[in-house]
């Protein structure tokens, strides 16, 4: 039996896979493979189809890990040991929220009648909470840390430093009791 006869379809199969693996084929083997494929339509079809399967696999799209899953990773790793640096855009956004919240509280204070009623006090508190909720929802989408740092520390700190000064009346008088 000659070398060519021994190079049957089973042997060609292995050589086809080796070629797909980008394994180096010596010149003699490569020539025998090409000669066999030229004369064997089954093996030629096999080689073409396997090549297309490989190309199809290589073309499969890469999926993107969702942002909230990545946020969980950060919160369980580097985010848990350090305060993340606030991006300039978020500093601006945080400052804007602080100004709006303080401005809203100042306006409420300025517009409040000299003798605020209990209902008016509840209304003012509800509106302030709404402002904070809407702001926190916007920030939470991208920077949970900014929400935590700004709204719970800086605004609370600002309110503590600049408490609302009501007219000098007793709480009982304002409540109408």
């Amino acid at each position: 039996m000659t070398a060519e006869e021994r190079f049957d379809c089973a042997s060609v199969r292995e050589a086809i896979h080796a070629k797909l693996d980008a394994a180096p084929l010596d010149t003699a083997l490569r020539e025998r493979l090409e000669a066999h494929l030229a004369g064997c339509s089954d093996c030629r079809e096999l080689a073409q189809e396997l090549r297309r399967v490989q190309q199809g696999l290589r073309s499969l799209p890469e999926l993107q890990l969702p942002d909230d899953a990545l946020e969980q990773v950060w919160s369980r790793t580097t985010g848990a040991t350090r305060r993340p640096a606030m991006r300039p855009g978020f500093r601006l956004a945080a400052a804007a929220v602080l100004v709006v919240a303080l401005g809203g509280l100042w306006l409420l204070r300025e517009q409040a009648p000299p003798q605020p009623t209990e209902a008016e006090l509840h209304q003012a508190a509800a509106e302030a909470r709404l402002v904070l909720q809407l702001s926190s929802r916007a920030l939470r989408r991208t920077e949970q840390a900014a929400f935590r740092d700004v709204l719970t520390e800086e605004i609370s700190g600002a309110l503590r430093r600049a408490p609302i000064q009501w007219p000098e009346r007793s709480v009982a008088e304002r409540r109408g009791s």
Binding site: H17, L20, P61, L63, A69, T77
Partner: protein, 169 residues
């Protein structure tokens, strides 16, 4: 590995880990769990994993987590619709090729999901993720010769399944 190196590794490899897990587990919900766990484990072991080998460590960890999940649940031959919906063909192709590629790509995803996980893993690591044989052999903990034979058989199985599904590759 310091914090900065860890963050770099996460950003570079998170999607590859997630993609591998999604196709091994045939769904994206559990794949998110696997990706998160693998990345958190890397953080926990960051003292003894160097930056250059982190990608290998991540893939091996993700693979083992996937195998654990597969063994814990009953195998289902159906591809999760959430996985199929998240796929989109390469839009750089022209319309005709796009349609052809979309059909073939979709079928490849379906038939890939039906292969045994051993064959699915070797095709994903070699053909989709492009890892060298030596690394794949370590990840799967099989000899190199066994790995190559498994890859060759898996290619042919996928081809056969595609033909039976009426899609000539």
């Amino acid at each position: 590995m310091d914090n900065e190196a860890f963050e770099r590794v996460v950003r570079e490899h998170k999607d590859r880990i997630y993609s591998y897990a999604a196709r091994m587990l045939r769904g994206t919900a559990e794949a998110q769990d696997v990706a998160q766990e693998a990345l958190v484990k890397l953080w926990q072991h960051r003292e003894r994993v160097e930056g250059q080998t982190a990608h290998f460590w991540l893939r091996r960890t993700a693979h083992n987590l996937c195998i654990d999940k597969i063994r814990r649940r009953k195998a289902s031959p159906e591809v999760s619709t959430e996985l199929q919906e998240s796929l989109s063909p390469d839009t750089r192709l022209g319309p005709a090729r796009l349609a052809e590629a979309a059909e073939l790509g979709g079928r490849i995803e379906q038939e890939l999901a039906r292969l045994p996980e051993r064959d699915r893993a070797v095709l994903l690591l070699r053909e989709v993720q492009g890892l060298p044989y030596a690394e794949i052999a370590q990840i799967l903990d099989v000899p190199l010769g066994t790995l190559k034979a498994r890859l060759h058989r898996a290619r042919e199985q996928l081809r056969t399944r595609l033909i039976r599904a009426g899609v000539t590759p």
